[in-house]
Symmetry: C3
Subunit: 137 residues, 3 copies
């Protein structure tokens, strides 16, 4: 079994920002030389997520609006007693999920026609990290 | 390390339909000859999900109703400017999740007493695909 | 490829309870002798979840309150015709997710600074089980 580990850093301009990382994760896959296996793409912070969906700009805005509706900012979260104001970002992380597993077949992501990997920042404007770990052969 | 890859196609009668695929995924596991490892079951389209829950018909209807409540159809989604009308199906995919990993122990799914694997179609009446990929030994 | 399988049992005092299991899962990792790979942590019941988030007591209460808001108790769920009253716990399981994959690098969980693994009981006061399965080398 081979394994490959890499990290990406983000420091977004906006508090909420979705970044298509499919190309960068493909670069990791090429470097790994793994032909059959699983790629884990996982946010290492608890106020950011990773999801797979369509690279359509209108939809990405819909997803942001939806996440805000289902897990809204609220100054009264108990978590804010610690001095933080990002309680909603923790909830959005749970809503969207913080990781995906991508199947690798014949050295490529075994994706459907519209699947793209997104890093979902919900509490940006600070340095945050993501792990790509691929195992297989 | 062994790996096994298979695909399932769906073309549901209804727009929203949940299909118990536990038996088909077990057939994949038998063919794989893998005794210890992980099985990934992942929708290859971004308007369908995969989840693990109870094979109870009332509950399945509750889940459909709940998904519609939390991620409702809305003609005004920005995504619909592309000509699509399935914005809600993209959001339901994010709510439910598009993949599960099932542990494989001694050649069987290492499941609790009620765990069943469901394909969750949120935008059916068209051909859509799912991948089963199993890695292990 | 090595694999390691272990189980944890829970019988919580309260219906809803979140339990930090990071230390126990780390003990499994040490026993496994696996240095590079993936650890799956997955609830074996369909009314409990597993998530990764911050060990901050206020936030944990916020998450409970949020899960109840998004997937509330409702006596009228169809699932209750079976005699159960835990329909909401099934929905909360789908909201939060029932499993996480943790990357293992150099024999340690490859986590960010605040990532902790939680068992999320949504229908407790009964014996329930969770699986930890680690594969790698």
């Amino acid at each position: 079994m081979k394994s490959y580990t890499d990290y990406m850093w983000f420091n977004t301009k906006n508090k909420v920002e979705f970044i298509n990382i499919t190309g960068e994760v493909e670069t990791c896959l090429k470097k790994s030389l793994i032909k059959e296996g699983f790629a884990l793409v996982s946010a290492m912070h608890i106020t950011a997520g990773v999801f797979v969906n369509d690279a359509e700009s209108g939809l990405l805005e819909d997803i942001k609006e939806w996440a805000e509706k289902v897990a809204p900012f609220n100054i009264n979260y108990r978590h804010h007693r610690t001095g933080e104001t990002n309680g909603d970002a923790h909830l959005k992380n749970l809503l969207i999920g913080h990781e995906v597993i991508v199947p690798v077949t014949k050295g490529e992501f075994d994706f459907g026609p519209w699947q793209q990997i997104y890093y979902a920042e919900f509490d940006g404007q600070r340095r945050k990290r993501l792990i790509v770990k691929i195992i297989g052969e």
